[in-house]
């Protein structure tokens, strides 16, 4: 038995098939792949940051939402603002008083809804709660207030004027 046979593993003798891709990966090559992966992840992180920035730059254009009469006092109305990808919610507090907020919880982006019996915006994902008039955090993990949408009643119609993240 010569030296080459001596160091060859048994499985290789039993299955003597080889392919070009079976070449050993050197330590340096392995590290190079890892660094390339790190570079790709860094670029991905930069892309995510840029996307986050661009998304918040859009504060929306004034537009008509719904006639005031179509929303009862204490009721909510769902709409999308500033873009079709941004869910928003409006609450009629009194006869001529309405507030609107982004429906995305500031914790991890779950959808918040109005809990009339508790008088608060509630995020069911992690039990985040927000003040109904200002959107400020009452309790739970959200780090900041809900994004506010300026609304105004013009000629008995509710208008959205702009978004303040």
């Amino acid at each position: 038995m010569d030296d080459e046979q001596a160091i060859e593993p048994t499985w290789k003798r039993d299955f003597p098939y080889e392919a070009a891709s079976e070449d050993e990966v050197t330590r340096r090559e392995f590290a190079r792949y890892l660094v390339a992966g790190a570079g790709v992840m860094a670029v991905g992180n930069l892309g995510i940051a840029a996307w986050t920035q661009l998304r918040t730059i859009n504060t929306g254009e004034p537009r008509e939402l719904i006639p005031l009469a179509d929303v009862e006092i204490g009721d909510t109305y769902l709409f999308r603002y500033p873009t079709d990808a941004d869910p928003a919610i409006l609450l009629r507090l009194a006869d001529r008083e309405v507030v609107a907020f982004s429906q995305k919880c500031t914790h991890l982006g779950c959808v918040v809804y109005f809990e009339a019996e508790e008088d608060r915006w509630h995020c069911p994902c992690h039990e985040g709660n927000f003040e109904p008039r200002t959107g400020e955090v009452i309790s739970g993990p959200p780090p900041r207030a809900l994004g506010r949408i300026d609304v105004e009643i013009r000629d008995d119609t509710i208008w959205a004027l702009g978004y303040q993240p």
Partner: protein, 67 residues
């Protein structure tokens, strides 16, 4: 003078450092996605900055690896 055994240990250490940095990059990616979901721009940019520094750091470590 540096022996072959020492050189092998050193290059193993470099690879381990790179693996640790890449693992941290994966963690940073999850933080960035979280920042994106929460519209948290400062966190997203901070994460991107640290991620770029780590990637550059791992590229520098490559220089210390034996060819």
């Amino acid at each position: 003078m540096r022996t072959s055994r020492q050189a092998t240990s050193a290059s193993s250490a470099v690879v381990i450092y790179v693996v640790i940095l890449v693992a941290f990059q994966v963690f940073l990616l999850t933080v960035a996605v979280e920042a994106f979901a929460a519209d948290d721009e400062p966190l997203a940019w901070a994460t991107a900055g640290v991620s770029v520094v780590l990637a550059a750091g791992s590229a520098v470590l490559l220089r210390y690896l034996r060819p």
